[in-house]
């Protein structure tokens, strides 16, 4: 089955100084791009694509894939260090990562993110290499009906992210749905809910939304904090000196292993989400985080646990390899980055598609090798970056806040060079500030914002195809029926869980009160 000649050729192409150098450059730029709020893997790959015009095949793949991998991991660095996700897929990492940082365990969180990313990425690459064609066939089974149910299932799974106060979680989800309806109607393309602003005709994009709610929101909160406490004048000298000293609690091998469950969840969810066109790594991260939280309530994910970081980061990096599945199996790019990698392959003279394996076996093998090698580079280079950033996170707030705000402005703008995106980002900064002060969880908003429009699109597409027949649309195939049953079961189980959680909470409250009473009595 393995074409050894091609493999040998691929090895001689990949293991050259040139390829290794470009791979290292790719990962370095990628981690940097990822760590800057608003700059995504897509932007990075798009910017570097023209450079590959003149490169040889393996070096071009090295640069782009290295950059892609680096950027997906890089987002977590600033998420942990400054509560500002560098990319939208790292937004789920903020919840536990930044809490760890605030407790002085930034280094531990960053290392968890790195190891979880690399582990899940590596394993999902292996899965991609071994069973890409099979995975692709599974992905094809998902048509409009199946996707609709999948989205509903995902939203139900995320009940866990709504926090203790259910109504606030739901409010956040409804807000996400509301923002998601801004823009073109999925069937007629007529603009809706745009408040008569023509520049909203295409809707709100994820980048300015996430940068606004997380980065700008967090910075505004910091400003409020700084201005409400009578501050002593800050002197920078001493704190800056501290930046260059090493230290901080690392991550032990035992701790790494203790996250195996979360990493497996991330691997499974990420691989699955990655191979379905149009979902992407942000959904992978949030879904994996939500499921991990639901599966192990005793671990108290969300309160600053390395398991939360591991779940989110494994979930987003595991999408990297599988994103290429539809591209390699059918020539269909499943995501923007996959489309760019497809373009790069075409520039190298290989049209992506099912015949690639026959026509360009050496190129395919070098692609696989680069996918795997990229992880090793990510591990090494990511470590260096993690330490530098962990230190930057300790910068005094009066210096850090303006820097992050400036980056947020640049990030929101350079996403599409659209000045209105800056306005949108600033607007959501206020929304973020309100949500923070009123403790409305952000995760449900992001999730419904991402998934609800897709659910709507698929539902209505299904109805169009089936000429308005609801039953045929919703119960289109055994898979759709299975997913629908899944939704019902999940809703039932999670409502039971919620009730039992509440019972435990109430009994704990009762016990605490009893104890207080008895203590009072004994004192008295």
């Amino acid at each position: 089955m393995i074409d050894f000649d091609a493999l040998q050729q691929a090895i001689s192409m990949v293991f050259t100084f040139n390829t290794m150098l470009w791979l290292a450059i790719g990962v370095t730029i990628g981690v940097g791009v990822g760590a800057m709020p608003g700059l995504t893997a897509t932007t990075g790959v798009a910017l570097m694509l023209p450079l590959t015009f003149t490169m040889d095949q393996a070096a071009a793949l090295g640069l782009l894939i290295g950059l892609y991998k680096g950027a997906i991991y890089g987002g977590s660095i600033s998420a942990i260090s400054f509560a500002t996700p560098g990319t939208s897929e790292a937004a789920a990492t903020v919840f536990d990562g930044h809490k760890l940082m605030r407790r002085g365990k930034g280094k531990k969180a960053l290392l968890t993110a790195l190891y979880a990313s690399v582990t899940a990425d590596f394993l999902s690459d292996v899965i991609t290499i071994l069973i890409a064609p099979m995975l692709a066939l599974v992905a094809l089974q998902f048509g409009p009906s199946e996707r609709f149910w999948l989205m509903v299932l995902a939203v139900c799974l995320l009940g866990a992210l709504s926090g203790a106060h259910f109504a606030k979680g739901m409010l956040s989800a409804a807000l996400g749905l509301f923002i998601g309806t801004v823009g073109a109607d999925p069937v007629s393309s007529i603009p809706r809910n745009t408040f008569d602003l023509w520049w909203l005709a295409d809707g709100v994009h994820l980048i300015p939304l996430v940068v606004g709610i997380f980065a700008m929101g967090a910075m505004l909160e910091k400003i409020v904090e700084l201005s409400s406490v009578k501050q002593k004048a800050q002197r920078l000298g001493g704190t800056l000196k501290g930046l260059f000293s090493m230290g901080g609690e690392g991550l032990s091998f035992r701790e790494y292993l203790s996250c195996w469950k979360e990493m497996s969840i991330g691997l499974g969810v990420g691989t699955f989400v990655g191979m379905l066109p149009g979902l992407g790594s942000t959904v992978g991260a949030f879904l994996s985080y939500g499921i991990a939280k639901q599966v192990s309530p005793h671990k108290k994910i969300g309160t600053g646990k390395i398991e939360g970081v591991a779940a989110a980061e494994a979930g987003n990096n595991a999408t990297v390899g599988p994103t290429l599945v539809p591209l390699l199996a059918f020539g269909i790019p499943g995501s923007a980055v996959a489309a760019l990698l497809g373009a790069a392959l075409m520039l190298q003279g290989a049209t992506p598609g099912p015949r690639m394996f026959e026509l360009y076996p050496a190129l395919i093998y070098s692609l696989f090798l680069v996918l795997l090698l990229g992880n090793i580079f990510n591990l090494g280079i990511g470590r260096i970056f993690a330490f530098v950033y962990a230190k930057l996170g300790e910068l005094p707030a009066p210096l850090l806040v303006p820097i992050v705000m400036l980056m947020a402005v640049i990030g929101a703008y350079s996403y599409e060079n659209n000045p209105y995106d800056v306005l949108i980002m600033l607007f959501f900064g206020v929304v973020g500030l309100f949500m923070r002060t009123f403790r409305i969880p952000e995760a449900p908003l992001i999730i419904t914002f991402l998934l609800a429009p897709q659910a709507e699109e698929n539902l209505r597409r299904g109805l169009l195809i089936n000429e308005g027949d609801w039953f045929a649309t919703l119960m289109n195939s055994p898979l759709a029926i299975g997913l629908a049953i899944g939704v019902v079961l999940l809703t039932y189980i999670s409502s039971r869980l919620r009730i039992s959680e509440r019972m435990i909470e109430m009994s704990e409250e009762q016990m605490a009160e009893d104890e207080k009473d008895s203590a009072n009595r004994s004192n008295g």
């Binding site: 897509t42 932007t43 790959v45 798009a46 910017l47 694509l49 023209p50 015009f53 992905a139 094809l140 089974q141 998902f142 048509g143 409009p144 009906s145 073109a184 999925p186 069937v187 007629s188 393309s189 007529i190 603009p191 008569d196 023509w198 520049w199 909203l200 005709a201 295409d202 994009h205 066109p277 149009g278 539809p326 059918f330 020539g331 269909i332 790019p333 499943g334 923007a336 489309a339 760019l340 373009a343 075409m346 520039l347 003279g349 049209t351 992506p352 598609g353 099912p354 015949r355 996403y415 599409e416 060079n417 659209n418 209105y420 995106d421 597409r461 169009l464 195809i465 000429e467």
Partner: protein
Amino acid sequence: MSRPSLEHGGKKFMKFLTRSALALAGATTLAMTAPSLSFADSYPSTTVKTIVPFGAGGGTDRWARVMSSGAFDVFGHGMHVQNRGGASGTIGWKYMMDGKADGHSILLASPTPVMAALMEKKPPYDPANIKVPAYYSIMKPTLVGPKDKPYSTWEGLVAYLKDKNNKKLSIGGTMTQLLGPASLLAQLGLENRVILVPYSGTGKAVNDYLGGHIALVNVTTSTATGLAKDHAIIVNSTDLDYPKSAQKALAGVPNAKSLGLKPFNPPRFVAMHPDTPDDQVKMMGEKIGELLKNKAVSKLIGKIGEDVVYVGPDKAQAQYQEVLDEAKKYLPLFQ
């Protein structure tokens, strides 16, 4: 003595005057003609601001990067590519409209911002109000279907749709792509026998088609080439032949011209501010033509799986107007 000398002097003076007048006239004529001559020779006289109304990495962006790689050789100046994405390309278009008509700013447009403006109740600009110096390509929406069905050929498809006992057929694709078969079928009065299912990208539509969730899919040339081995290629809705690289795989596919129907040719075109003087529009159109002929540029265009269809300044504006009218006619099918 004084008189003749004066006369002489007068003659001299007259001679001088005549000469000066001639020289002045000549200089004026030169001054009047020279700038336009040198303008044509040295046009563009500075960097060409090239607005891409989409983010980095998309199809139009790739065209821009490839074209700009040959700009120095052809223009004598660079092309400064600026991505101004957002709101389906309308932000970039509006940016061009708000800028100056300096003859050195162009927009690399596609049908997307045109459609977006047509969808808007209060559009930020009138898509008809621009100057079109050139087309640089024309997309070739191509209908693909399964091989083993009665509708795997154009004749079969028409016969199938004419038989009212058959179910309607769903066709997936992006809105621009779908306008192709929509216009062909509408000419035969069959537009209501198909369901046009819009997708945000060709990839998603092909995915649903391969999974059997929609009956037919309308795709780009390069995707059609990839699918040709195992699927039936039914029709090309333009009146153009496929590029050389695709002719082998897509041999024998009927197009609008061979079917005697009016084609739908969605263009990739260069747009300029409506106030740009016509001579500058013309010169820009011609320069774009030269740029596309540049060896290095055309080689790269082939490599990114695209093909050049150049329509010069003499025809581009009229053809654009025609496409606009067609789009307006068939867009209500989606609403």
